[in-house]
Amino acid sequence: MSFTIRYDDNNQELMVAGSMSPQSAGELGELRKIFEKSARTVNGTLYLNVKRLIRLNNIAFHELAGLVARTCQEKPELKISVVTSSVVGWSARKFSKLARISPNISVEQYDKQFYPGQDVLEDGGFIPILRTQTKMTWRHEREILPRHGLKPGMAVADVCCGIGDFAALIYKEFTPSRLIAIDHAKPSLAYARKVAADFGIKGIEYVYGDASQLLLDDNQFDFVTCRHSLQVFDRPELILKELFRICKPGGRVYISNEKNSHCLGEPRAESIQWTYTEVAKLWDHFKMDIELGPKSRRYMMDTGFEDIRMESFMVTNLDGDPQDFADVIQAWEDVYAGKMAAERGDSEEFIKKFRQGFQDHIFAALHPKGYAGWPIWVASGRKPA
């Protein structure tokens, strides 16, 4: 049995994580002590965070329920909010029983607390964009990945795999010994499994998971990838910590991110630049950092990686069919100037100008003498042996 229990006074949050399966309630003295102490000091709402609790036997639940029930009796004005995770299948079902104790107890599945902008990206509307984007970036990354240490026969994890097409390309090109692809969007995973089945690919494990609390053991993978995803989270350092944890000592973690304000095009450069500067502000409103690319090195150093390698590449309208580039930009416009701008409450006048920059980027991409670019930064670091 290995679990941790910690009380964060600032958030009035009691966090229980790990595996809790005692033989007797007597083994839970630390839980009782910290729970009772925090319940005594807290006012208003006590948050019981069990998002990272992956095993809880009935003995432990019985003890926890007893603590909750006593607290409700002793402090009838106190509310208790239990935060479970959708990633741990039994969690919400089991903890929902606590709500029977008192109307002051609520039980929620609350992964979205961590992903403020996730609703926008998880509804499946992004799938066509992602497919075309991967086609365009793969031309570059298939050459880049070996420079960052990816070799055939490795155990690989693709965290935040999206629609799984990058994992499928890795599978075909680098024949990993194991390939696990994880994402938090069920529509994307359903699509990934269908594509894998259609292509007769049986070697990829597509699994539902939360990048900040992976149900994977430590030190499992030779190479861990996480592409275009740290920029989606408001706390990328927590994701990097998990990538570091599941990577084997001596293995490498590979990330890619953007700096959207550096998207460019000719002709109509000024309008294009204005719109992408506004894209960065729009993402920032949803607590996502689409400017993260060049910050990758700092993030990797702060996490504890060594031998950090970093480079950038530019996806352009000259890579393959310019219409692909135009399709991606059109999809960006649809989502950014459509759903996201509307959700932020932008004016019609702003949205018109905002849309024009995307249209000008498409114009540059399809112009016979034009040039349009989308820059991406990749970085990798080695976990110390």
Partner: protein, 171 residues
């Protein structure tokens, strides 16, 4: 064939996935064996389920409760056997547990009580009750939260075979 039909159909085609037997004293020498065996077996049988990690977590939690029940309710001597087989979406866990008359009575009653209409209410009541925990609570949990179909068969000698059919991708 649906998962429910496979559970009901004794002749459904269950293919063996895993089998182990160990001396019941060795098993009962350390409570952590329940968790370790459950985690190990779950990893083995889950890799080709649609979502291997989610499935393994559910399967190991369910098997852990069965093993903890056996840990608390067995007699000395003989072997604890665990057999896992699969028919489509259903995984069948069979635990053979050395028993005496008293323990056989415990398992028989615990399984009989699962067929009542109020099983869900009784599970919640047992979870939230003061005092000692009902030793059959793991079986209640499987029947209610995991929608397992549980049954009891005679094993070799005076052992019992506890059978749990689980369709965890549909539960």
């Amino acid at each position: 064939m649906s998962a429910d039909a496979r559970m009901r159909d004794g002749g459904a085609d269950f293919k063996p996935l895993f089998e182990m037997a160990l001396g019941v004293e060795a098993f009962a020498s350390n409570w952590a064996h329940c968790d370790k065996i459950a985690t190990y077996v779950a990893r083995l049988v889950s890799h080709n389920r649609t979502d291997s990690l989610l499935y393994a977590n559910l399967f190991s939690s369910a098997l852990n409760e069965l093993l903890e029940t056996a840990f608390r309710a067995h007699r000395g001597g003989g072997e604890l056997a665990c057999h896992v087989s699969r028919s489509g979406p259903v995984d069948r866990i069979e635990l053979t547990i050395p028993c005496d008359e008293v323990l056989r009575g415990f398992y028989t009653r615990a399984i009989e009580e699962l067929s009542g209409d109020d099983v869900s209410e009784r599970y919640v009541a047992a979870l939230l009750a003061d005092g000692a925990l009902d030793p059959g609570i793991g079986l209640l949990e499987l029947a209610v939260d995991y929608k397992a179909r549980l049954s009891l068969e005679p094993g070799d000698g005076d052992a019992v075979r506890l059978v749990a059919d689980l369709a965890l991708e549909e539960a």
